[in-house]
């Protein structure tokens, strides 16, 4: 196994040090380290963070390999600074059995660019009718701990209660896509002034908040862990803050796009901006940033959702919801949180690595940058700004909402257990 000597990196933005990586672990940290035969990486003041962990990635394999594969998605993730991604269950077939989650897990191992951690479906076929074999998925080689019907809400309150209770047996967590389906029939965008004018059916904030309020009460009642996918409204943040103050075991993620973009994007009728939950208002963005800053929101989850061209180059209503996120997530967090002074680098490490790893119960990720720890690392240059070119992305799809937008931050290198998956900003495999 290659030994790497990283020269002059700044862990969490602190003083520059050398980091010696050996046998997949951090062997030593100090000034002027030397190691014969080591491959030297000149970091020259780059920020070092623990490898990023995504709780919410759609890799589309099996089923829609024309949009993304485990391999292309893994490459996009590594280029974005990730060392672990949770692959959502809404594939075809649905990841609702041990067989499917093991297949996805194995594809991830073969690609070898990030740890692909399968999410198991909560209900059979994501239909919201009866529980999938959650225990079998937990006990499988994929060791599933996060369960989600993402794309669909587990809207039946009795079923949700049972799911929350059941996964306690193996320290699992239910990740809820909070959307009351009866309030979002035909919904196309955030319901407000703009939807009224554009004639697009509204997706009310209350449809998200109602489910979140219900589920934090259920989680409290049964003493279970609950995770909330992609919270998007100011009201959701308020409910979360209240629930956490009561000691409810609830965690939540926010997507990069909900931190940056508003429903004004829909005025173009370009479905690249169609996403579920929809882009909201400036006031929501402000509440989400504040929630992420004070820790009410635990994590950034990309909701990376690749779509083939024909699913996006259409009328707004016909297009599928979702947007790419892996390769620009860190840049968006720098733009919205770091540059305005709302998160320091330790905060970024916490929200993009430490806490998501804890929520997913990934023991080898989100660890401190210290001797003896697994060498899952990212080196980044926060100052460089570049314009996003969808054609240059590693994802198989091109539906980036950031096309043509200038964003700060460049991932220079990513290490997965000591193996460089990205060097000089390029994937190594």
């Amino acid at each position: 196994m290659t030994t790497h000597l990283i020269k002059g990196a700044r862990p969490l933005g602190g003083d520059a040090v050398d980091i010696l990586v050996e046998d997949g672990r951090i062997a030593a940290i100090g000034d002027s380290l030397a190691a014969t035969g080591a491959e030297v990486v000149e970091a020259g003041g780059l920020i070092a963070l623990p490898g990023l962990v995504d709780l919410h990635t759609h890799l589309r394999e099996p089923g829609r390999e024309d949009a993304e594969t485990v391999e292309t998605g893994s490459r996009a993730a590594a280029l974005g600074g990730f060392t672990a991604v949770h692959a959502m269950a809404n594939t075809d077939p649905v990841a609702d059995t041990a067989g499917v989650v093991e297949q996805v897990w194995r594809l991830g191992q073969e690609a070898g660019l990030v740890d692909v951690v399968p999410v198991g479906a909560v209900t059979v076929g994501l239909k919201g009718e009866r529980l999938a074999e959650l225990g079998a998925m937990a006990d499988s080689a994929a060791r599933v701990r996060v369960f989600s019907d993402d794309g669909h809400c587990v809207s039946d309150p009795a079923l949700m209660r049972r799911a929350l209770e059941y996964v306690k047996a193996f320290d699992g967590v239910v990740a809820q896509h909070a959307e009351e389906p009866r309030l979002t029939v035909g919904a196309q965008m955030h319901e407000g002034d703009r939807s009224a004018r554009l004639g697009l059916t509204g997706w009310p904030a209350a449809a998200e908040e109602a489910i979140i309020a219900r589920d934090v009460l259920l989680a409290e009642h049964v003493g279970a862990r609950l995770h909330l996918c992609h919270v998007s409204t100011a009201g959701s943040v308020e409910i979360l803050r209240w629930a956490k103050s009561r000691g409810v075991q609830v965690t939540a993620e926010v997507t990069p796009h909900h931190l940056l973009l508003t429903d004004a994007c829909a005025e173009s009728y370009d479905p690249v901006f169609k996403v579920n939950p929809p882009l909201r208002t400036e006031a929501d963005i402000e509440a989400l940033r504040a929630g992420l800053a004070d820790g009410t929101i635990d994590a950034v989850g990309t909701d990376h959702a690749p779509h083939a061209v024909e699913d996006k180059e259409s009328e707004w209503a016909q297009a599928r919801p979702g947007m790419l996120g892996l390769e620009q997530a860190l840049s968006v967090v720098i733009e919205t949180m770091v540059e305005p002074g709302r998160l320091d680098w330790a905060g970024v490490a916490d929200r993009m690595s430490v806490r998501p790893a804890q929520i997913g119960r990934l023991a080898e990720h989100g660890r401190p940058i210290a001797p003896g720890e697994p060498a899952n690392l990212v080196l980044l240059d926060p100052g460089t700004r570049a314009t996003v070119d969808p054609a240059a992305l590693a994802s198989r799809s091109r539906n980036s909402p950031y096309a043509g937008r200038e964003l700060p931050g460049r991932v220079v290198a990513t290490f997965l257990r000591g193996i460089a998956t990205v060097l000089d900003g390029k994937a190594t495999r």
Partner: protein, 306 residues
């Protein structure tokens, strides 16, 4: 004028007035003529691209284009490639290859004309998109009001009914405000969009209260199936609270007019004796539609050859 007419906001006051004046001139030029045809758009191709059945609107545009001597191609969703799953973009590229100078599009998806405008070089005219807009309907309504009342500035227009799902209402609110009219929307709260407060219009729930202060009442079509989604309890209750019958019509000022974009649900939003009364402009609206659409096509396509 902008190159496309996608929504009422594409027209500023001068543009909108120019369309109405041009429509009046066209009407004058054709009055009393045996052959109702002008040579203005000879050699130009106008495509009617209709993804939604709307015989009335399609015929109106077809007549408008033909009276301007344009070549007209009707591309309807039924029985053509568009019904076989061809994407809007592929259809756009086909139209482009045919050399369409103007594309008149009707589509069930809000924003479809905006998308189309990105992909074709010709002018796109929105002939109704989903629940978004129907700008030529608003123009013909404005034309009809001006013709009947002699002005638009300060005219009090009350729009009644299913504002939530109405592209006619959206275009009218914007255009009438551009032209100086004062718009009031009246509907059950379920049929007003969340966010209607940001529109340049007054909003009320009580039809009887606003009728005496209305120079124009525009009744919107209300689809009976809306009651299945609990927008209102029953057709009977709707028509009792928001329908325009003879008793309510009597509360209007003497010279007030009653409009309807059609097709009407007689007995639902409008009583037969109102639809057929002298105040009703419903038949005029249809005739004015052709003149106004001629004006739009002329102004968008009639400039120097492209």
């Amino acid at each position: 004028m902008k190159r496309h007419l996608l929504e009422a906001a594409d027209l500023d006051r001068d543009d909108a007035t120019l369309v109405l004046d041009t429509a009046a001139q066209i009407e004058q030029a054709l009055a009393g003529r045996e052959v109702k045809k002008l040579p203005t758009l000879r050699g130009r191709t106008v495509v009617n691209l209709f993804y939604e059945d709307s015989t009335r609107t399609r015929i109106s545009f077809e007549l408008a284009a033909k009276r301007l001597s344009a070549d007209v191609i009707n591309f309807s969703a039924k029985g053509s490639s568009v019904s076989k799953g061809e994407s809007l973009k592929d259809t756009a590229l086909t139209l482009e290859a045919m050399g369409a100078d103007g594309v008149v599009v009707r589509h069930s998806a809000s924003g479809a004309p905006h998308r189309l405008a990105n992909w074709v070089r010709g002018s796109v005219v929105n002939a109704g998109d989903g629940t978004h807009e129907h700008p030529t309907q608003a123009l013909l309504d404005a034309y009809t009001i001006r013709h009947r009342l002699g002005r638009l500035d300060g005219v009090r227009v009350t729009i009644v009914g299913d504002v939530l799902h109405s592209r006619v209402a959206r275009s009218n609110v914007v255009l009438l405000q551009t032209l100086g009219a004062e718009v009031t929307l009246v509907a059950p709260p379920t049929l007003l969009p969340v966010g209607v407060g940001s529109w340049p219009a007054e909003v009320g729930y009580d039809l009887d209260a606003v009728l005496p202060k209305s120079d124009v009442v525009m009744m919107l079509r209300v689809q009976g199936e809306r009651m299945n989604a609990s927008f209102f309890p029953s057709a009977r209750e709707y028509s009792r609270r928001y329908g325009l019958d003879a008793r309510r019509m009597a509360a209007l000022p003497d010279d007030a007019i009653v409009m309807h974009p059609g097709p009407m649900n007689r007995g639902m939003e409008i009583a037969a004796e109102v639809a057929d009364s002298v105040r009703s402009t419903i038949v005029e609206q249809v005739a004015n539609g052709v003149s106004v659409r001629m004006a739009v096509l002329y102004l968008l396509l009639g400039g120097a050859a492209q």
